[in-house]
Structures are given as C-alpha cells and as structure tokens.
Amino acid sequence: MDNTWDGFYAGQIRLSRFPALIDGNGGAYNISFTGSPAKKMRFLFNSLNKTAGMTIRIAYPGAESRSITINDKVIEPNPWNDESQMYGPIMQTHCGENRYIGVKNILEFYLVNGCEIIIIPRDAIQSLVRMEWSLDAFFSNGGTTSFMDRVAAGLGIHASTIKIVSVYEGSLVVNYEIGASDPVALAQVQ
C-alpha cells in the first residue's frame, strides 16, 4: 500500500503482505478485508507441528468465483453434495482442499503447515435460481437444455458457457455456472 503522495508520485510504497499468529489445531478461521480483496493472493502457513492446519474462509464482495492452485496446478473443488445442495464441506484431507459457495460468495480452503496456496480468479459466475415449478414439469418442458438456452438468450451469451451443476426440488432449484467463452469449443458448435 502507499501511504503518502508527493505530487503525482506515490511514496512509502510497501507490499500488502500480512503475517498473522494462528492456531493450526484444525479449526476454521474467517478472514475479513476492510477493502476490496486482492484478485490473486498467496497464503503460506508455517508451524513446528508438521500436521498443523486449519480451514480458511474468505467472504468475497463479488460473484466471480475463485480457484485454488498449488505449484501452478488447480486443485479441483470438492464434489457436489446432494444432501447439503452445495459443494461438499471441507474435510481437511489435503492441503488446498476447497469449495466455493456460490451466491454467498464464500471461498473455503484447507491450509496446512509448509503449504503454499495461491488463489486465482476464475472466469466464472456461480448462480442459483428457484422456480415455482415441479421437477417433472421442468424436464417435460426441455429440462436443462431449454433452461440453458433461455438463460443464454436472456443474457445474450452462448449456451456453451453455461453449465448446470444440479437440479433439485424445492420447488425447483437449478444451480448453474456461467464460464468464459472457449473460442475453440465455440467454433465447434457454431
């Protein structure tokens, strides 16, 4: 951050790097930012206990989802859990285990001793819509294909960028994700 201005130039520039004392006893910690969170962030935890670790939760102000990477490899989020109707909870099985809770825009990940995690923005939006409709009526009227076509038409985007994550009753809830256009995939379907 910069703390002073000298005419046009910023002065006393310093890194936005923050150390924090934390207990790696397997608990969960919420991190709140008073300003806009950085798009790309690095997390590192060091303890003398080799098995120390904790779940970190970050609530983001925007709907853009995030990915967790370790050594430039994206760690896939936990599989979808039908019971909780969201991505599976963090079970603290391995460093980088993560899930992004769409709509609430909360990123959760497991950080262990000696593990370096980098959060990168993912060019996708996770969304959810609840409709006054039965499951049978939804699927007899074209189901997910019609749903994707209608959302795409409404937003003026290509249907290939929409991915249905789940459909369940209650009345009818559709979890879906809108990703960035893949030019190669787009060319194949056009």
Partner: protein
C-alpha cells in the same frame, strides 16, 4: 533451561500507537509485536529450575484478539505474554499478488 528466572524468560511489549505515522508505519499500525511466536521443542530444565512448562511449549504475545481464546494458553502478566502447552501455533502469511499490490491497501 538453566538459571532462568520466570520473569526474565520473555517480555513482549505492545505496539507503540505512535508508530502509526507517515514516517514509520503509515496509516497501518505496526502490529508485529502481537504476532511474535516463540516455540520450544524438547526443552530440558536444569536441576532446581524455577521454570517447568513441559517438553514442548510456545509463547505468544498478549494479543487480545486471539490469545485469551486459546484453550491451551495461560496468561503470564509480568511478561505480557501467554504460555501455551501446544505446538500447533504458527504464522500464516498472506499477501496480494495483484499488479497494484504496493499501491493500495486491502
């Protein structure tokens, strides 16, 4: 540990509020002293030692946002510290990697 008085083992001073000035810390108060961690592993005590915190223990500062809430930690007011019968405490570092990482706070 040999010939160490309990009161002399550690003292962590509080961050000086005057550090929050343009010359030193800028608008962000320097909270370094609140995030200090001393870890002791396989500690041995000499005969007659006035100290005995066990083989493994950790010392942290009187960080009011964390220290009082740790079950394994007990305050030691003379040193402005907490002594923790634990080895899972650690330092987590996080930083912005955006292009504007030196230009704005977050």
């Amino acid at each position: 540990m040999t010939n160490v008085a309990p009161d002399a083992m550690a003292y962590f001073s509080k961050p000086n509020p005057k550090w929050a000035n343009l010359k030193d810390c800028g608008a962000f108060p320097c909270t370094g002293p609140l995030n200090v961690l001393f870890s002791f592993l396989d500690t041995k005590y000499s005969k007659g030692s006035l100290l005995n915190h066990g083989k493994d223990f950790q010392i942290i500062s009187n960080n009011t946002g964390l220290s009082p809430y740790l079950d394994t930690c007990e305050p030691y007011q003379k040193g402005n510290i907490y002594i923790c019968k634990s080895n899972s405490l650690g330092i987590m570092m996080f930083e912005s990697m955006d292009d504007d990482k030196t230009d704005r706070g977050m």
